[in-house]
Point group: C2
Chain length 309, copies 2
């Protein structure tokens, strides 16, 4: 399938800017001098890719609707993603000093402030979904807001991202166990489906839910998101092995040094790359019947395996 | 004002049991063998007083309505309260080994599991408010659920409980600073209003919101809750000085050893006790015009300053 030219760079920049302006508006309702607010800002405005909120907006557009309706969910998703990074970086978890080339929240501030900044971002994400009219001109109706809350909370919580991080912590230094390659691979896929996949899927779903899309569209988008989420994580593992530390904002090879369970460690680099390509082909196939309004989603899928950070 | 006899012990037990059964139902939807679920259960079912959910139920009753409508909010409040205890106990925060006579979550499990169990409880509280029909027979309407989410998220977050914990962390070992007694007292009141008061107030408000109570009732209940929340914290400080460690489930005098800012440290024990009594009198005055359906709220107010743990 040859897609017509689509300027993803311009699309990403335009939509990242829209999301950044909304997040600025959310933060601006708090005294900027407060330590808690400074810590939240440090991590929330650290120049992230905004992949999740942009996916929500692109998904709303693919359904042929006004992306503005998806902005409350987009902001909530990015705040929850940021909270998860702050907590994952803590000394008791991955113990990372750098994130996006800057000191992690607990390094720049302190451990207790980082824990609380994460808690505050998570809590405020749900506030935004309950009172979007405080921040946005166009807002979904009440039942839609409740559905968004349910979709996002389910993806972020006990059966989603939090459990994924639990499994990730438990899998460190466990490569030497007795499991065979197939079992390790299935464990790794499951862990990433929870840790990253569910929130990627929730982002795409949130765009469709925000605009009250038809069920058939939601189903296709869910299939797209499932493949995309896993491909994203496979590429993350590949970049951790061979990425440019300057562009990644963190040291390469850190997973290897920790003896962490990764796709390249199990499959090797080449087979990991072809696995990622196959997942992206499946993602593109799932949204085959969408019109050109879905071109941003198609371009994002291709970008995921061509990115360098 | 002489209240007729009201059996608070029986009321507390009955309503604690109702809340416990609902929380059991929430937990039972997850595989009990999972480490994350075990850690959540360890802290959520550790025999807490259930003050916040019981306040929500008592508040719904004071408005003359079916308390069942307040059960989703009651469960969400207890889950958020429990998450805050788990995170506050962490080594980077208050570094407590015991809570309610049992090992704290990070002592029983590990630090990363405790952080994630807290995150999971917080996230799932909002799931429950968005999908109460998964767990409860009688549920508030959509707009009411959004208002409950907003009230609770605001009380728990950046301008509420999380900021209160920030101020609490910042105030440790700072008694030697140059501020005079009045300034210290005002700082301490502000810190506790955020750390404890806002969630107590949200609990009372959530009961009234759940049953769509009239605005005048909500206003009176808010005044009641404001005084009650501060009185509760003053008594906590007093109990920390002279309480029985057996009943409290933790060592007495721990605040003193940490040179922590407390009401007894600033006012002395006797003036702290009369301050608590005065707050309770104000709380009772605020709900003077309620009928006997508010007797549980009145009895809870009296209990707060007569409790021994």
């Amino acid at each position: 399938m040859n897609a017509p030219f689509f300027d993803l760079t311009a699309f990403l920049k335009e939509h990242r800017d829209i999301v950044d302006r909304c997040l600025e508006k959310v933060l601006s309702s708090f005294d900027p001098e407060r330590e808690l607010v400074r810590a939240m800002r440090h991590s929330l405005m650290a120049g992230g890719k905004r992949l999740r909120p942009v996916l929500a907006l692109a998904s709303a557009r693919a359904c042929g609707k006004d992306i503005k309706l998806a902005l409350p969910a987009a902001c909530a998703l990015e705040m929850i993603h940021t909270y998860s990074l702050i907590h994952d970086d803590l000394p008791a978890m991955d113990d990372d000093d750098l994130r996006r080339g800057k000191p992690t929240c607990h390094k720049k501030f302190c451990e207790s402030t980082a824990i609380l900044a994460g808690d505050a971002l998570l809590t405020h994400a749900f506030y935004i979904l309950s009172r979007p009219q405080d921040f946005f001109d166009l807002v979904p109706e009440s039942d839609t807001l409740l559905e968004l809350t349910a979709v996002i909370a389910m993806a972020a919580g006990i059966n989603g991202m939090v459990e994924g991080q639990m499994l990730d912590m438990q899998s460190e230094n466990h490569q030497e166990n007795k499991r065979n390659k197939d079992s390790l691979l299935s464990h790794l896929k499951h862990m990433h489906e929870l840790k990253t996949g569910k929130m990627i899927a929730a982002s795409v779903a949130a765009g469709a839910v925000s605009v009250n899309a038809q069920v058939t569209l939601k189903t296709d988008l869910a299939a797209y998101a499932g493949h995309l989420g896993l491909a994203f994580q496979v590429m993350d593992d590949i970049l951790n092995v061979e990425g440019d530390p300057e562009k990644m904002g963190k040291a390469a090879g850190s997973d290897l040094r920790r003896d962490k369970l990764t796709f390249p460690a199990i499959l090797g680099l080449d087979r990991s790359k072809s696995f990622a390509q196959q997942l992206i082909d499946q993602a593109l196939g799932a949204i085959d019947r969408f019109d050109s309004q879905a071109d941003p989603l198609r371009a994002i899928a291709r970008y995921v395996i061509n990115r360098d950070r």
